[in-house]
C-alpha cells in the first residue's frame, strides 16, 4: 500500500512536531517579530502544499522541512529586496552542495570536531555556529590574530579531510 502524506492527521502531526523548530529557526534569521510570524505561516503553507510530492526515499521529513524553511526565509529576503541583509549561511549561488546536506552529516561533523584539538574545535564552533569574528575569538582566547588565523586554517584543512573521507 502506498502511504500518503497528504491527509489532515498527518498535517496536524507535522505542525505539532515541527512548529517550535521552524519558529526558533525563523526567529533566529528574521528579527522583526511580525515578519517572522508571517514567514512561519508561509513555511507551513509550503510544507502542506508540498506534502503530496514528499518522497522519504530522497530525504527525511526533517531534512525536507528544513530545506523548505530555509528557502522560505531566503524568499522573504528576496521579496523584501533585502538580499544585502541575508545571513551569510543562507548566501548561496549554487544549491547543489545544500542538497547534499543532511542530518547524518551532523554526526560526521561531531566526530570530526572531536578529533580536532580542543582549541581548534572551539574556533570552528564559535566562528561558524555562534557567528563570532576570528578577531573576537582571538581576544577571548588571549591569542594573537595571526595565530588564530593559522589555527583556523589548520582546522579547516583537517575538517575537509575528516568529513570527506
Amino acid at each position: 500500500m502506498i502511504e500518503t502524506y497528504d491527509n489532515v492527521e498527518f498535517k496536524e502531526r507535522v505542525y505539532v512536531e515541527f512548529k517550535d523548530r521552524v519558529t526558533r529557526y525563523v526567529r533566529g534569521k528574521i528579527s522583526n517579530e511580525h515578519d517572522s510570524e508571517d514567514v512561519v505561516s508561509d513555511v507551513f503553507v509550503n510544507v502542506f502544499n508540498g506534502l503530496p510530492d514528499f518522497d522519504e526515499k530522497k530525504a527525511s521529513l526533517s531534512t525536507w522541512i528544513y530545506a523548505i524553511t530555509r528557502n522560505t526565509v531566503i524568499d522573504y529576503f528576496r521579496a523584501a529586496n533585502r538580499l544585502c541583509e541575508l545571513p551569510e549561511e543562507l548566501c548561496t549561488e549554487d544549491d547543489t552542495e545544500q542538497n547534499l546536506i543532511n542530518s547524518e552529516m551532523l554526526e560526521r561533523l561531531a566526530s570530526a570536531l572531536e578529533r580536532l584539538s580542543e582549541r581548534e574545535g572551539d574556533i570552528i564552533v564559535l566562528h561558524y555556529y555562534s557567528g563570532r569574528t576570528l578577531k573576537d575569538i582571538a581576544q577571548a582566547m588571549d591569542i594573537s590574530y595571526s595565530y588564530i588565523k593559522l589555527l583556523h586554517s589548520n582546522a579547516l584543512k583537517a575538517l575537509r579531510k575528516l568529513i570527506d573521507e
Partner: protein, 63 residues
C-alpha cells in the same frame, strides 16, 4: 569547506543534533556566549543590564 560548515551549523540550528549540541555548549561555555537579540533588548541605553536580565541569568545558574 567554509560554505559546508555554515550549511551544517545552519541545519544544526534546525535539527538540534544532541552530540553536536554538547560540543557547541562546551565551546560557548568556555569562551562566553554571544548575547541573543532577546538579551540585548534587556540592556538599557547606558549599557547596564536591566533587573529582568539579571534575574533571568541568576535563574540559569546551577544551585
Amino acid at each position: 569547506m567554509k560554505k559546508k560548515l555554515y550549511d551544517l551549523f545552519d541545519l544544526q540550528k534546525f535539527s538540534g543534533n544532541k552530540r553536536l549540541e554538547g560540543i557547541i555548549d562546551d565551546a560557548e561555555n568556555r569562551y562566553g556566549k554571544a548575547l541573543s537579540d532577546d538579551d540585548l533588548e534587556l540592556i538599557s541605553a547606558a549599557g547596564e543590564p536591566s533587573s529582568a536580565l539579571i534575574h533571568a541569568k541568576n535563574e540559569d545558574k546551577p544551585r
